[in-house]
């Protein structure tokens, strides 16, 4: 599903993750205002996931749970999952969570994501198939990328069905057919 050229997958890996360096690294500028070209062990920075992931695997830095998966978000999602603005926290909330979970050693992440998606899924389901697109701009502004895709899939299939039901011209005449033949000379 996630292929090399999947633009969403690439964007997921752009998300920032807080890491703490465990070893000193020479010749790296992560802070432009630093005086030396090296990173002390224990310094904390936010790096994109693709970089943090590699550093984590080489045991140079240790990943921490990003801000969008903090305790507060978990509590809010547990209280009223459907009306939490996940879009502003992380556009790729679920995909990012799936990638992060094994690295930060969070055992509950999978079930947390699943239960969050479940509650929000019901709301999307209730809205997606019946109302006009404009009526739900508020809901749409809360949804993550994946949920938006889901919503739009439902909307467009419903729109296609309505279009078919109302019907149009059953047979379209090719534009060539109506034309008169040109004079031979």
């Amino acid at each position: 599903m996630a292929s090399y050229y999947d633009i969403d997958d690439i964007l997921v890996e752009e998300q920032r993750v807080p890491v703490a360096f465990q070893q000193a690294v020479n010749g790296v500028d992560i802070d432009p205002s630093a005086e030396t070209h090296c990173v002390e062990p224990g310094s904390k920075v936010e790096l994109p996931y693709w970089l943090a992931h590699e550093l984590h695997l080489r045991k140079v830095a240790k990943m921490k749970v990003p801000a969008c998966f903090n305790q507060r978000t978990k509590l809010e999602l547990g209280a009223d999952g459907a009306s939490v603005d996940l879009r502003s926290r992380c556009l790729y909330f679920y995909e990012f969570g799936c990638k992060i979970a094994p690295l930060v050693g969070d055992r509950d992440m999978g079930s947390f994501l699943l239960s969050a998606f479940r509650t929000r899924y019901q709301k999307i389901l209730a809205k997606a198939h019946n109302a006009a697109f404009t009526a739900h701009s508020k809901l749409l502004s809360y949804l993550t990328k994946e949920e938006t895709n889901l919503y739009e899939a439902a909307q467009s299939s419903m729109a296609a069905f309505k279009k078919w039901r109302i019907g149009g011209p059953r047979f379209e005449r090719a534009s060539v057919l109506g034309r008169k033949r040109k004079e031979a000379n």
Binding site: R107, F117, L125, E146, S157, A160, W164
Partner: protein
């Protein structure tokens, strides 16, 4: 189309579903004499005036357009039967009534091309619209319940082609998402998971599809 960005989820357009429905058989009463037609999909005819015969929908429509026959509406399209079905649909929230697989398309085709051949046209049309709306609401409410179960599955019987087609992109995507988010806690070893994407571990044995 909704499924275009993701090749795993494809949808048919309404017109395509209608095209498939045109293979269903209907009864026509020709008003002309004609030799049997030998088609790849079967032999139809011979046609004699006032002798009812079974032909596929597309042939019936082609003959109807030329004024060569009248189409007999199928038995389920009677007012009594439809009223009964509508009542039953409204009564039970879970079960769907048995209707032909292509009932939406067949009725719409008949309304378009053979409206003169249907007795109580307005009544039948509004009954079918009501049935369709009632059923669609029920589809939605039954989809709502399916993520309560641990297995992320739902059992909806007797859905028709058009109803399935409308919810297909949504359900397909939703199931994929449930599968994806459900899998990390199924895989206990975190090291193996970081090396291999959880989505790629799709090696659950599939049951062969049942023949229709």
């Amino acid at each position: 189309m909704a499924g275009q960005s993701d090749p795993n989820v494809s949808i048919f357009s309404g017109e395509e579903v209608e095209f498939m429905a045109e293979d269903e058989m209907v009864e026509i009463v020709p008003n002309m004499r004609m030799e049997p037609l030998n088609m790849l999909c079967g032999d139809f005819g011979p046609f004699y005036p006032q002798m009812a015969t079974q032909v596929p929908m597309w042939l019936a429509i082609a003959l109807k357009k030329r004024g060569k026959c009248t189409i007999r509406p199928p038995e389920w399209m009677s007012v009594e039967n439809l009223t009964q079905i509508l009542e039953a649909e409204r009564e039970s929230q879970a079960a769907f009534q048995v209707l032909p697989f292509h009932y939406v398309e067949i009725s719409s085709l008949l309304f378009d091309y053979a409206s003169g051949d249907i007795p109580d046209l307005y009544m039948v049309r509004s009954l079918i619209n009501d049935i369709r709306d009632a059923r669609f609401l029920k589809v939605e409410s039954s989809l709502e319940s399916f993520e309560d179960a641990r297995s992320s599955a739902v059992k909806v019987k007797n859905l028709s082609a058009m109803e399935v087609n409308v919810v297909r992109p949504f359900v397909g995507r939703a199931l994929q998402a449930f599968y994806k988010h459900g899998s990390p806690d199924l895989v206990p070893n975190p090291e193996a998971m970081s090396a291999r994407r959880p989505q790629a571990t799709d090696n659950i044995q599939r049951r062969p599809l049942r023949r229709r």
